[in-house]
Symmetry: C2
Subunit: 99 residues, 2 copies
């Protein structure tokens, strides 16, 4: 399995509506991108101080599946229209793991 | 489901042996901490520039399961003995998600 993990910190001015728009956009992707095997995202639960604000974990069979996701135009539009305008910081890792 | 996601950047001086010790330590945890439902970690695949170096995604039934993991003494020892000495930067999110 090939897993993509990404986290964001939002800018302090980010509104609740802007954050909801990110989730609503992401929610559409598993129905659009056939290489997605699992897709779970959400806002930080605020259990620990100092955390990032939002995480996405996306699973694929292999690197090619991830690359199809990365290049997908709907995904790219969500990044450009909803994520980039409120993103202050981004942290990402992709890794191979046992199924 | 309650998911814990954490990433690290290692210090430039971190040796391969030190990085392997992190993975070896983490590998023991699912056999020790009963609240772990899924546990997948690994080094960054180096597909994208600017990434963090290592990610851990741990799944639990609920917040209490995560808190048991967070407090577990073997887990704490792995952090103190293997992770902290080579960690330059840490990014974390915990979030609720659909099973």
């Amino acid at each position: 399995m090939f897993r993509h993990v990404v986290m964001f910190r939002w800018v302090p001015e980010a509104t609740e509506a802007q954050k909801v728009a990110v989730s609503n956009g992401l929610r559409s992707l598993p129905g659009i991108i056939p290489s997605i095997r699992a897709f779970r995202f959400g806002p930080d639960a605020e259990v620990n101080a100092g955390n990032f604000h939002f995480a996405v974990v996306a699973d694929f069979d292999d690197l090619a599946g991830y690359e199809a996701y990365r290049a997908d135009p709907t995904h790219q539009a969500i990044i450009a229209d909803y994520i980039a305008p409120i993103s202050a910081e981004r942290a990402a890792v992709q890794y191979e793991t046992q199924a």
